[in-house]
């Protein structure tokens, strides 16, 4: 859209690369049929596309296995509708009444709420607090683990401040304690290289429509070969229809019903686009702009940056408040008078706002994407600067 400066990529990446739209259209115009339900040519082609995307994503999250010349079972990459569904499947499949789960105050409601529902049904939970910048001390995770802990679930990067956790250190703690580690990679899948083996991750939850540049309605879980999740959705699988119960092998044990086929085709194109551009190259571009944005905003009187200013262990997300303003008003003025689209409020992560003292009205969040430019950042800084100055008059 002309005149729009989109700085809300933590909510969903926009625009998507053209190849993603083209691939979705291509799927529907050339082979948009249901795989597994028949042996016809079109169905087989659709099945190949699904399998190829499973394998591509599975390898993407398990580079050390690929580098060692071994095979990561691609069927343990299951597709879901989104990260929320993935996280619900993980939590429901690993935590039963009497079990304990360790999570953190950095989480999105997609973890907080399912965990709270488990607690209401008789489980226990510990919400570990990060330090003042938002980083978790791996030892605090160790201290949170109890005899009945069946799951540690954390996010890789905060959707509010962009702070990125040390997964290798946290994974080591979980491995030593013999507790599976689930990681919500909604903000990092496709943005930062993640290696499940190196980080001892049992369950990696991802969304397709953010850093992987796929369509909305796509997501999934990559399950380590030595881990398992008890299934909690049952129905059609397209194979072994006479079986009265849902299949227990992957991917079927966590998938039921027709997949979002066109979405997965688009997701496959998004992944290829990232690999073609280079994940490091995209990250470097985004963080250069984030550094510029952070420096510019920090210099404005009345602007407060919440969370870390570290640009190393971070994704390109930043939260601010402006003295004398409700965050939603700043967002409205930025949008209408400057064309800058941010995200205001609590961003579905209430506990980290409590931690940073930004409840109940939240913050103004900016999140940079690969299609942003220095001019976009300059306009955002100018907008915030002029808005802040209005309240100083």
């Amino acid at each position: 859209m002309d005149g729009i400066i989109y700085l809300d990529n933590a909510a969903t990446s926009f625009p998507k690369p053209d190849v993603v739209h083209d691939t979705v259209r291509d799927f529907y115009s050339k082979y948009g049929v249901n795989p597994g339900r028949t042996g016809c040519d079109l169905a087989l082609k659709a099945e190949q596309m699904i399998h190829g995307t499973r394998k591509g994503l599975s390898d993407f999250f398990n580079q050390s296995i690929v580098d060692a010349g071994k095979v990561k079972d691609p069927n343990r990459l299951v597709f879901t509708m989104n990260a929320t569904m993935s996280l619900n499947l993980i939590i429901n499949g690993c935590v039963k009444p009497g079990d304990h789960v360790v999570t953190t105050k950095l989480e999105h409601n997609s973890v907080i709420r399912p965990v709270n529902h488990k607690v209401r049904a008789g489980s226990e939970a510990t919400f570990v607090a990060p330090d003042v910048e938002g980083y978790l001390d791996p030892e605090s995770i160790r201290k949170g683990i109890k005899k009945n802990t069946t799951l540690v679930i954390i996010n890789h990067a905060s959707n509010v401040t962009g702070v990125v956790q040390d997964l290798e250190a946290i994974g080591k703690v979980c491995a030593e304690a013999g507790v599976p580690l689930a990681v919500d990679c909604a903000q990092t899948a496709g943005v930062i290289p993640i290696d499940m083996t190196k980080c001892n991750i049992s369950f990696l939850s991802f969304t397709g429509h953010k850093g992987l540049y796929g369509p909305t309605g796509t997501g999934g879980i990559c399950v380590a070969d030595n881990a398992t999740i008890k299934g909690s959705i049952f129905g059609g699988t397209g194979v072994r229809s006479a079986d009265p119960y849902h299949l227990e092998e992957y991917p079927y044990c966590l998938e039921a019903g027709t997949l979002n086929l066109s979405g997965i085709a688009g997701l496959s194109a998004g992944l290829k686009w990232i690999l073609g551009k280079g994940i490091d190259s995209i990250y470097h571009h985004e963080m250069e702009l984030m550094g510029m944005l952070q420096e510019g905003l920090a210099a404005i009187e009345g602007v407060k940056i919440h969370g870390t200013r570290n640009l190393k262990k971070r994704v390109a997300t930043l939260s601010i408040t402006v003295a004398g303003y409700d965050p939603s008003d700043v967002g409205t003025i930025l949008d209408v008078d400057y064309g800058v689209q941010s995200r205001t409020g609590m961003q579905c992560a209430p506990l980290i706002h409590e931690h940073h003292g930004t409840t109940p009205r939240g913050t103004i969040r900016f999140s940079v994407g690969p299609f942003n430019t220095k001019e976009h950042i300059e306009t955002a800084i100018r907008g915030v600067s002029e808005i802040a100055a209005d309240r100083r008059k």
Partner: protein
């Protein structure tokens, strides 16, 4: 809120429970509560636009097209309604509280 001899029911945020009982006197009373001593022509221009849009669509108007239509920038709306277009102008226009992600 008492307006004339009528009791006007408001929610906890001061938005009207029943937008159908809105009239100019109610608007002036809510405006007073917003700290607007007297509704000017500019206030009414905004309020009437919101009201008409809501009657046609059942929704509060998006701020950008409203500003374009009224040929004002959003900061002028904030000068008229210090609580802003949603919490200020829509409230004076008698709309139910708009949804928003907070």
């Amino acid at each position: 809120m008492k307006v004339g001899d009528k009791d006007i029911a408001l929610d906890k945020d001061g938005f009207m429970i029943d937008p159908e009982v809105w009239n100019d006197a109610v608007a002036r009373a809510i405006a007073m509560d917003e700290g607007i001593e007297a509704m000017t022509e500019e206030h009414w221009k905004v309020v009437n636009f919101i009201r008409e849009y809501w009657k046609k669509t059942g929704l509060a108007p998006a701020v950008r097209p409203m500003c374009q239509e009224l040929n004002v920038n959003v900061r002028q709306i904030y000068k008229l309604f210090t609580s802003g277009p949603a919490r200020g102008a829509c409230r004076v226009a008698g709309l139910p509280k708009p949804d928003g992600c907070v």
